[in-house]
Symmetry: C3
Subunit: 429 residues, 3 copies
C-alpha cells in the first residue's frame, strides 16, 4: 500500500473501532439516565453489537454497500461482501478499494459499527417494555433491510438518492433520522398493545440519574463521534482533521447553549441530563454537515441546538402515547433532520471537496443561490423517502413479530407505576 | 522511517495500548460476574499491569524475546532488552527491528501487554482465596520465567518449537492455554490447603452479576482483542485488516452459538453470562488461527464455540476440588488448545503468508494432506510441552511460596459459605 | 501530505484523543477515592471538557500558541487560531504546520485536551465545597489567561522563557505545577470563607474508596498519559516510541516504590490508594523529562517517587486550613516541580534532540557540568515565575467571583462533619 492508502486504512479502521464502542455506550447511557430498571439495555446493546457484526458479515454489508440493483438495494450476492469473501484468499477487487484504497475489512468494520449504533439508538425506545427476544429477531431484519435501504440510497454511490445529488455526511438521516423513524414504528406498536391492555397513557419511564454511568457513556460517545464524523471522510487528509474541529466545537457550543436554555426554562443550572443531552444534540446536528462546513459555522450550529432540543423535548413530552426519556425523537429525529437541512445553508464547496463531494454547491449563507435551493429540495425529498420507508418497514416488522409472539411487550405496567412515583428526580443531590 | 515502517510501528504501538487495557478489564470482568466479593481483583489487576511493565522492562522481555540460549530461553543479557537499553541513547540494532522496522518500545509495549493480560487470566482462579502478597511475588517469577518460556519457544524465531515449525498466531497456547496450565498449578495448591483445613469440597464462588461492570469489561476486552489479534501480524498490511474480520466474525458467531446452546440446556434465553462468555470463547478460539484463515472459516469456528464451551463448562463444574466461575479452564484452556489444533484443519497458506508465515501448509480442509497432518503433530507436541512446563513451574512456585508464607490462601471459608447461599443468581432481574 | 506528515498528524491527533479522555477520568478518580459525596465532580469534569473546547476554539488557543506579543501572551487575533479560522476554507499557513506538518485541528485538539485536564486537576481541590457556577465562570478566565500564560511562555517558541532556553517536555510545570499553583489560589479563598463562617479547621473530605471507579479512572489516566507524553514529541518518530518506554517504566517503578514506602509507614500492603497514587506520581514526575531521558533514568526517577509522595502527603496533611485528599499538592505540585528540576540532572542530549530540543545540554549525571547548572537556574526561574503568576491570577479571579457571587463556597459544613465520622476508611474491605 502507498503511504496515503496506509494512512487511510489505519484511520478508518481506528475510527471504526471508536464507533464500535458506541453501541454499548448507548446501553450505559440508558442506565445512566434511567437507572437499574433498564438494566436489560446492557444485554440488549451487547447483543446488538454481536448481531451487527454477524448479520452484516453474512449479507447486510452487501445489501447496503454492494453495487445496487436499480439504485434500490445492494446486490446481496456481491462476492467481496457475501460472507466477507467466504473462503477466498484473494483480495477482491471491490469498488470501495478504488478511490482511497480502503480494504474490505476496513470499510466493513466502519460501516458495521454505524449500523450497530443506529440500532442501539432505535433501541432506546424499547426501554424495558419490549421483549428482548423480539428485539433480537427485529435486529436481523433491521441489518439486512431497514438499515441497509437508506445507506444503499444515499451513501452507496450507485443509490438513487446519491445519483440525484443527495448528501448526508456522516448520517444525520442515515443514522439519526432513520433511527427516529424506526423507533416510531416500534413505539406505535408498543402503544397499540398498551391500549389493548386498557391503558389510557403509556406508562412513563422516569429519570433516575446514575452519574457514574452517565459520565462513562458521554465519554465513550464523544470519543466514538471522533470516529463517526472525522472517519466519514473515508480518508486521512486535511479535511478529516477539520472535521475533528467542526465536530468538537459544535458539541461544546451545544453543551453551553442547551444548559443555558434549560436554565431559562427550569431555573436549574447544570442539570447533568441537559449538559449531556446538549453535547449529544450538538454532535447529532453537526453529523450530516461536519465535512461540509467551517469551524465558525459549526459554532453557530451548536449554539442553535439548545433552543431546538429543549423545545422539541417539551413537544414530545406532551404525547401521552409514548415514553421517550432518552430523547430519541427530540434528539436524533429532530436533530438529525435539522442538520441535514442545514447542508443547504451552511455548506462550503471547498470543505465538501475535501470530503469527497466536489459537486456540492455552497449553501444559501455562502452565496449558493439557486443551486443551494435545489440542494435543499433534494435533501427534503431524501428525508421524506427515507423516513417513510424506514417507518413503514419497521412497523411492519414489529407487527409481524407481534402476531407471531403474542405481542412484543413485556409485563411492566404495574411495577412501573410503582417505581415511577418516588425519587424520580433527574437532579444530582 | 519509511512509510511502511511508520505504519507498522504506529499500528503495533496502538494495538499494544489496546491490549494493555485488557488486564484491568479482566479485573472488571471478575467483579462483573462475581460481585463486590472479589473486589480485590481490581487491586490485583492494577498491580499486575504495573509489575508486568517493570519486570519485563528489567529482564522479562529479554528472557522471552532476546536471541535464545539453545532455543530454550532468551538471553537475559541482550543489550537492547536489558533495562530496555539502560542509559544508552543509541538505538540498538536489535533483531526485531529488521523485518518490519519495529522499534524496541513498540515491540516491548505490545508483548508486555500480552504477558500482563496472560497473568490476569491466570489470576481469575485466585478469586478472593489467594493472598495478594503471594500473588504479587508469584508475578515476578511468572514474567521472568513462566510466561517467558512458551513465548521463547514459539514466538521467538530462535525458539526450539518455532524452529520445528510450530505456529500459534496470537497466543491460543502462549496466552490462553498457558494461562490455564498456570492456573491449574495454583488451584491445585489452593485445594491442598483447603483439604488441610478439613474441607471436603472447594468452597464455590457463585455468580453475582453486576451488569454495568460486565458490560464495561466485555467492551474493553473486545476492543483489546482488536489489538491482540490484528496487531499480532506485527505489521500494518492487508492481512492485518483481514484479521480484524476473522476476529470480529468469530466473536459474533460464537455469541449467537453460545447463547442458543445455553438456551437449549437451561431454557433461559440471553443470560448475560452466556452472551459474554460466548463472545470471549469466540475470541479465544480464533486467536491462534486468526491470521491463517478466511472470514468464512472464522464464522464456522465461531459457531462451534457454543457447544464446546457449554459442554466443557459442565465438565469442569463437576470437579469438587476447584471453583472456576470465570471460566479459565472451559474458556481459555480448552478454547485456546482447540484453536491451536484447528490450525491444521482451517489454515490457508495465502492468509498465513500475509501474517509472516509463508511456510505454513494449508489445513486438512483445504487440501493440506500429509503436510497438514505433520503440522498437527507439531502443534500437539508444542501444546504438550508448553502445558506441562508451565503447569510444573507454576505449581512449584506456589509450593515454595506456601512454604515461605505459611500457605498461599486467605481465610475465606466461613464467610464464603454464608454469602454463597442467597441471591447468587446469574440472571438479570 | 508526505508519509511523515501523515504519521505525525495521525499520531498527535490520536494522542490528543487519549488526553481528551483524561478530564472526565479525573472526575471518576475523585468519585473513586472520595465516594458519592463528590458526585458533582462528574458534572464538573464534563463541563470542563466542553468549556475547554469552546473557549480554546474561540480565543484560548491563540492566547497560548499564536505568535506572542512581546513573549508574554499569544496574539488573540492570529487568523489560524481565532475561531479556528472562522469561516475561512483555506488552510492557514500557521507556524505550527511548518516543522512537522501539524494541521491546526491536530495541534488544537492536542493542546486543548491539555488545557482541559489541567483545569480538571485544579478542580480536585474544589471537592464539593465550591459552587459549580463559580467554577464554570472561573473556567473561562482560566482557559483564556491562567492556563495560557505558562504555555505561551514555555511551550510557545516565541515565549520569553522558551527563548531563555527553558524546557518542560510534557508539562511538569505547565500542567502539574501550574495546576497546583492555581488550586492553591482557590483553596486559600475557600479557607477565607470557612474562617469567616467561624471554622477553626477546614472540614476534611475523607476517603471512601469505590474500587470500580478508581480502576476505571487509573486505566483511563494511564491510557491518557500514553497520549500526554509520547504525543508531546509532536511527531511520530523514534523518540516518540522511546517516550512510551520512559513513561510506562516510571509509572510502574513508582507504583512499586510507593506501595512499599506506604507499607513501611502504615504496615498496610497494597492499599489501593497508594497503588494508584504511586502510578500517578510516577507519571507526573516523568512528564517534564520523558523526552529527554533514557529508560534507565526513568526507572530511577520512578523509584524515587515513593518516598517523595508519602513524605509530601504527610506534610500537606498537617495543614489545618485545607483538605486535599486527591493529592493535588503532594502529587501534582511537588511531583511536577521535582520532575522539572530533574531535567538538569538526567537529561541526555541525544534523546532531547529526537524530541525537538537539540540545544538541551546533558544533565549533571551525564557530564553536563556548567551547562547543566545553567539549565537548572533557568528551570528554577521558570518555575518561580509560572507558579507566582498562576497563583496570583487564580486567587484574584476567585476573589472577584466571591465578591460578585457572595462567596464561592457551598453550604457543606454541617453535613460534612457528619459523614466524616463513620467508615471513612481508605481500605478495601
Amino acid at each position: 500500500m502507498t503511504a496515503a492508502f496506509l494512512a487511510n486504512n489505519l484511520w478508518v479502521l481506528l475510527c471504526g473501532l471508536f464507533v464500535f464502542m458506541m453501541t454499548m455506550a448507548v446501553g450505559l447511557l440508558e442506565v445512566g439516565e434511567l437507572g437499574q430498571r433498564v438494566v436489560v439495555s446492557l444485554v440488549k446493546t451487547i447483543l446488538i453489537t454481536g448481531l451487527a457484526v454477524l448479520v452484516m458479515a453474512i449479507v447486510g454489508f452487501n445489501t447496503a454497500f454492494a453495487p445496487t440493483l436499480g439504485g434500490v438495494i445492494g446486490d446481496p450476492r456481491y462476492g467481496a461482501g457475501l460472507f466477507l469473501g467466504g473462503f477466498s484468499p484473494g483480495l477482491s477487487d471491490s469498488w470501495w478499494s478504488v478511490t482511497g484504497g480502503l480494504r474490505t475489512g476496513t470499510y466493513f468494520l466502519f460501516e458495521t459499527a454505524f449500523a450497530s449504533v443506529t440500532l442501539a439508538l432505535v433501541g432506546v425506545i424499547a426501554l424495558h417494555k419490549m421483549k428482548l427476544s423480539a428485539f433480537a429477531i427485529y435486529s436481523v431484519v433491521y441489518f439486512v433491510l431497514i438499515w441497509a435501504l437508506p445507506a444503499a440510497w444515499i451513501w452507496n454511490p450507485s443509490g438513487w438518492l446519491a445519483k440525484l445529488g443527495m448528501v448526508d455526511f456522516a448520517g444525520g438521516l442515515v443514522v439519526h433520522g432513520a433511527a427516529g423513524a424506526a423507533g416510531l414504528g416500534i413505539v406505535w406498536q408498543i402503544w397499540r398493545e398498551e391500549k389493548a391492555k386498557g391503558l389510557k397513557v403509556s406508562p412513563p419511564v422516569h429519570y433516575q440519574v446514575n452519574p457514574g454511568w452517565l459520565t462513562v457513556a458521554i465519554l465513550l460517545l464523544w470519543v466514538g463521534w471522533f470516529g463517526f464524523n472525522p472517519g466519514s471522510v473515508l480518508a486521512f487528509n486535511d479535511e478529516a482533521i477539520i472535521v475533528v474541529e467542526t465536530t468538537f466545537v459544535a458539541a461544546a457550543a451545544a453543551m453551553v447553549s442547551t444548559s443555558l436554555t434549560a436554565y431559562l426554562v427550569t431555573s436549574e443550572l447544570f442539570n447533568p441530563l441537559y449538559v449531556v443531552n446538549g453535547i449529544l444534540m450538538g454532535l447529532i446536528v453537526i453529523t450530516p454537515v461536519a465535512g461540509f462546513v467551517s469551524p465558525g459555522s459549526a459554532l453557530i450550529l451548536g449554539l442553535l441546538c439548545g433552543p431546538i432540543f429543549v423545545y422539541a423535548e417539551k413537544l414530545v413530552g406532551r404525547a401521552k402515547w409514548l415514553s421517550d426519556p432518552v430523547g430519541l425523537f427530540p434528539g436524533h429525529l429532530v436533530g438529525g433532520i435539522f442538520g441535514v437541512l442545514m447542508i443547504a445553508f451552511f455548506a462550503q464547496n471547498q470543505f465538501a471537496t475535501g470530503s469527497g463531494f466536489p459537486g456540492l454547491p455552497n449553501g444559501l449563507f455562502f452565496g449558493g443561490g439557486a443551486a443551494a435551493v435545489k440542494q435543499l429540495g433534494i435533501e427534503v425529498l431524501g428525508i421524506a423517502a427515507a423516513v417513510v420507508a424506514v417507518f413503514v418497514l419497521s412497523h411492519l416488522t414489529v407487527r409481524v413479530l407481534a402476531a407471531l409472539m403474542r405481542g412484543i411487550t413485556t409485563n411492566y405496567g404495574a411495577a412501573d407505576a410503582v417505581d415511577a412515583t418516588p425519587g424520580a428526580s433527574a437532579t444530582l443531590a
